[in-house]
């Protein structure tokens, strides 16, 4: 079902810089919708280093990637931004009246006056295992996520990986598939111990076939696999299979950002340093995704860029309205918006 949403600002990317932008925009009474391909906020902080400490956020001698994300979410909560997770922005189109139409891969259309691209290092996408010609089978018989369990009913399924996704789907799909083989390169798993134990029970009962090894080659035609070849210590092993689910985690790819007609500099979007506007008026870019002379890819820089961007966005959305500069410490108006006065 297609959905249409109309708003002041769409922020592409719910990483730290995008999240803080919602705060700066909120102080100026602008409403944000976020779109992110991940299923939760935090961008790199949440995906790549949730438990690692960051030492250079002003005022925090040390904070982990996840704590920073949680704090940013709490900080912007008064402005109730809306989140649309697990979808990718595919296109941005400028309409005649100067506003924008955005399309996601989840069949939603956003109408917005201002677009803020906070796409960081790019969109997170599944890591593709280095297997020849795997592309031709993708989304036909090789999947990196289970969207519809029905697609797996009665199939011969091979799942590769040793993390939570691999184990969860082994347990969830086992009851409905014809055969299920779990492949991992070693006999140690980085998944919840309860899932590992359950999987081992299913192996003991003969309901799941566990193989030590790695996928080496696929056989099939027309996008439909029929055998998965494994490299194992004992040599090549061929397993009949009609569905393959490799779970190797995520990696960042620039993705569709490159096709939006914006001036680029080596995979980053060129902006000015007054407003952080791109070569298309009304589209801003903040955080790791932008480029200007002297750019530092630091969270700190993205926060600063968000503040200046918000002022310019306000001028576009409410033309002619005078914006009075105020401090959150002393302005009761701002404090009311934050729900503290």
């Amino acid at each position: 079902m297609s959905t249409e949403i109309t708003t002041d600002v769409v922020v592409i990317g719910a990483g730290p810089c995008g999240l803080f932008a919602a705060f700066e925009l909120g102080l100026l009474d602008l409403k944000c919708h976020f779109i992110d391909i991940l299923d939760r906020p935090g961008g790199q902080c949440a995906e790549l280093y949730p438990e690692k400490p960051i030492y250079d956020i002003p005022g925090f001698p040390v904070v982990t990637g996840q704590q920073l994300t949680d704090n940013l979410m709490a900080q912007i909560a008064p402005f109730s931004p809306e989140f649309h997770f697990s979808r990718m922005v595919n296109s941005i189109e400028k309409l005649e009246d100067g506003s924008f139409k955005l399309q996601t891969d989840a069949d939603e259309t956003f109408f917005t006056k201002v677009v803020v691209i906070a796409a960081g290092g790019g969109s997170f996408q599944p890591k593709r295992p280095p297997v020849p010609e795997i592309e031709q089978y993708e989304n036909k018989s090789v999947f990196y996520a289970v969207r519809k369990m029905e697609d797996f009913r009665g199939q011969d399924v091979v799942i590769v990986g040793g993390g939570d996704s691999a184990l969860d789907w082994t347990l969830n799909l086992q009851p409905i598939v014809r055969t299920l083989t779990l492949v991992h390169r070693r006999d140690a798993f980085k998944a919840a111990p309860a899932s590992v134990n359950k999987m081992k029970e299913l192996v003991a009962e003969g309901k799941v076939n566990f193989q030590l090894g790695q996928i080496a080659k696929l056989d099939g035609d027309d996008g439909q696999i029929n055998h998965v070849h494994l490299a194992t210590e004992a040599g090549d092993l061929s397993i009949p299979a009609t569905r393959l689910l490799p779970f190797f985690g995520l990696t960042m790819k620039l993705g569709p950002v490159a096709d939006w007609g914006l001036e680029l500099n080596d995979n980053t979007i060129v902006v000015d340093t007054e407003k952080f506007e791109t070569s298309v008026p009304g589209i801003f870019a903040i955080g790791d995704i932008n480029y200007y002379p002297g750019k530092l890819k630091l969270i700190l820089s993205g926060f600063h860029e968000a503040a200046l961007m918000a002022q310019a966005a306000k001028a576009i959305i409410s033309p002619g309205e005078r914006v009075v500069f105020q401090y959150t410490t002393s302005s009761t108006k701002l404090q009311k918006k934050l729900g503290v006065a």
Partner: protein, 106 residues
Amino acid sequence: MKIIVTDQAGDVHELEGLEGWRVMEVIRDWGLNIKAECGGALSCATCHCYVDSEWLDAVGAPSDEEEDMLDSVGDVKTNSRLSCQILCSDALDGLKLTLAPSAAKD
């Protein structure tokens, strides 16, 4: 110190390593085909390499955390290492390694 790196295309490069640098940083600095997405934070495995068998003892075994990270690539061999977890030192002068397919940039 020198490190000798064979890239994914089979070309051999002799790189000048700097004491205390990570091997990944040297490879990246020379512009070879290594993604090294997380910059050495042991969070991505896109700096995966194969250490020449004669150097395996000198570089030592990977940590448990590194093994966990290696689970996220599909081309692991017994001599697999993440190059960001190997520090350049005189003891590794002449280190030979090969970049794994999974370390390539997009």
